[in-house]
């Protein structure tokens, strides 16, 4: 098995820095910050796939960097979930005010802008 040494911790630290940047961006979640965040997340996935393909050696530096990265991923997950629940809850509450409730007594489902597709 051909395992890399040295490069994996560095790559993992780079991903960690990107995730920290996403965390900072999502302190103020809006359309603009989402665009940049999604780009950074996509790049991070590519970097991690590269690390995995290179089969990192089981050394302490890699273990430590991977553990730090896992904490960053968990924090990011919590931040996204918090913002999602906040917006989703608010949107449902506000949409009840003009639209009322469904027959089942639940808030109306969220709907995006209508799209029309025509085929000749």
């Amino acid at each position: 098995m051909n395992r890399t040494t040295g490069s994996a911790p560095s790559a993992l630290r780079t991903v960690n820095e990107r995730l920290k940047k996403v965390q900072r961006l999502l302190l103020d979640p809006c359309s603009r910050s989402w665009e940049e965040s999604l780009t950074l997340l996509n790049e991070s996935i590519g970097l991690l796939q590269g690390v995995l393909a290179a089969q990192p050696s089981p050394d302490e530096a890699s273990r430590s960097a991977a553990r730090t990265l896992r904490t960053a991923v968990r924090h990011l997950k919590a931040q996204i979930e918090h913002a999602r629940r906040f917006h989703s809850g608010w949107l449902q509450l506000v949409s009840c005010s003009p639209a009322g409730y469904t027959d089942e007594g639940t808030p109306p489902p969220l709907e995006g802008p209508a799209r029309l597709s025509c085929e000749g």
Binding site: A8, L27, D28, L48, R70, R84
Partner: protein, 461 residues
């Protein structure tokens, strides 16, 4: 002439509306940094227009509308409550971190290892006076390390009592302020400044204890702790109190125990650390505490082995107990038996057949022995302490990690609050739906990142 006066009156009303709008804007700018202030907007109300009835229309200024969104306020309070909890927990827990040294070089684990080594050296040369003296010295060190650990835990527990008491005082101080705002509101009616002060106090209160707030029709607020215990009802304050001791209790104004309702805020964190974390180590009325159990078990087993042995195979003189302690607080009182001298240490097993270093060898292997009579909680003594260290370390690490995350969530919740305050669904619906799609995409990416990270962890393990 009537029409002329009516027209002038209409114009005057319009100027009044204009002036008030400017005043509202100026007030928003002035209070941009005021804690708890929510932006206001001028409300313009149209006047009835019916010439036949002599009504000439026009506009008048209504009461300014607040952009405060109660949903967003509550969302911030929930996060602030959690932050308060984790901050208190991590502050207190960090103070016991040094007692549980995972390297095994210092503290109780270091002293246990040193004692085992001294037993081992003694077993190699049972009649050696310096080896015997070394056993007594290392036993004394172990007693001191248990005493120091117990003293540190007791001090942290005492400090927790003091912090619980002062947090309860702060809660009562904030609820007193909120009651005063309710009284002022009753006298003056709606007021943006009063509203800002009220919400600033509510947010500060949320950092101390988990609250529920109900807005009454007359504009006053009812504040409940833990969803059930009234702290403020209109113009009445209900003070809570703390009963501190080995276990802390929080009492409502009428003396009911409401401890179980306090789940977050500084007070929730302090109660959890005091009544659960520290009590599990040091004991309380309902449990002995892991540190006491360990100290007592080590002392009892060492004493049993020594008192069943003889000083040498040539003598029938029974051994003397090495340790003494007060059963009410074993860890805090563990010490070397003051009556023992080095030559009273019993190394030999009387047999048959007699073994010159039988007891000393048994003691040398005691800490890692898996014999059921040597084990504590189904584990060897070293494994038991190791699992205790791991559990304490994990709880401390979790509290610190949660505090870091919670700081982000509070900042995010405050930012989200300002985003949606005063925003109507019509204005924001499309953007909100786009955000929902953003969340889905990000959640998908983060799931992939999580899986990849786990695969890397498995590979480098």
């Amino acid at each position: 002439m009537g029409n002329l006066f009516a027209a002038l009156n209409t114009v005057a009303n319009a100027f009044d509306v204009f002036n008030r709008s400017i005043a509202v804007s100026e007030n928003n700018v002035t209070n941009a940094s005021t804690p708890g202030y929510a932006k206001q907007s001028a409300v313009v109300e149209s006047l009835p227009f019916d010439l036949a009835q002599g009504l000439y229309g026009g506009v008048r200024a209504g009461d300014p509308a607040s952009s405060r969104d109660q949903y967003a306020e509550r969302a911030v309070w929930r996060q602030v409550e959690q932050l308060g909890k984790y901050t208190s927990e991590s502050d207190l827990m960090a103070r016991v971190q040094d007692l549980f040294d995972p390297s095994g070089a210092t503290g109780v684990s270091g002293a246990l290892n040193q004692l085992a080594q001294s037993f081992s050296q003694w077993s190699a040369n049972p009649s050696d006076a310096s080896a015997r003296q070394d056993v007594l010295n290392k036993a004394q060190d172990l007693g001191l390390s248990f005493q120091q650990a117990a003293a540190t835990l007791s001090q942290v527990s005492e400090d927790a009592n003091g912090q619980i008491q002062s947090t309860v005082d702060q809660i009562n101080s904030f609820t007193s302020q909120i009651r005063d705002y309710d009284q002022q509101r009753l006298q003056t009616g709606p007021d943006a400044g009063l509203d800002a002060n009220l919400h600033s106090s509510l947010e500060s209160l949320a950092e101390l204890v988990n609250i529920d707030v109900r807005y009454e029709q007359d504009g006053m607020v009812t504040v409940l702790a833990g969803g059930q215990t009234p702290l403020v009802i209109g113009t009445t304050q209900q003070s809570i109190s703390a009963q501190v001791g080995p276990t802390c209790q929080i009492l409502s104004a009428n003396g009911d125990d409401i401890t179980s309702q306090i789940s977050s805020g500084n007070l929730g964190g302090l109660l959890a650390t005091k009544n659960q974390f520290l009590a599990s180590l040091l004991g309380d009325g309902s449990q002995p505490g892991a540190l006491n159990q360990l100290a007592q078990h080590v002392a009892d087993r060492v004493n049993q082995i020594l008192t069943s042995a003889v000083v040498s195979t040539d003598s029938s003189q029974a051994g003397t107990a090495l340790f003494s302690y007060d059963p009410a607080a074993p860890a805090g009182t563990l010490a070397v038996n003051p009556a023992i001298t080095p030559d009273q240490l019993a190394a030999a097993n009387p047999g048959p057949p007699p073994v010159v270093n039988g007891a000393a060898t048994q003691l040398a292997g005691l800490l890692s022995s898996t014999d059921s009579s040597d084990q504590i909680g189904g584990l060897s003594i070293l494994d038991y302490f190791g699992s205790l260290e791991q559990s304490v370390g994990q709880q401390i690490s979790d509290a610190q990690d949660s505090e870091t995350l919670q700081n982000s969530l509070v900042a995010q919740a405050r930012s989200l609050r300002s985003q949606i305050s005063g925003v109507s669904l019509d204005q924001e619906a499309v953007q909100m739906v786009e955000l929902q799609r953003g969340y889905q995409a990000a959640a998908h990416f983060v799931t992939i990142l999580d899986d990849l990270t786990q695969s890397i962890i498995d590979m480098v393990r």
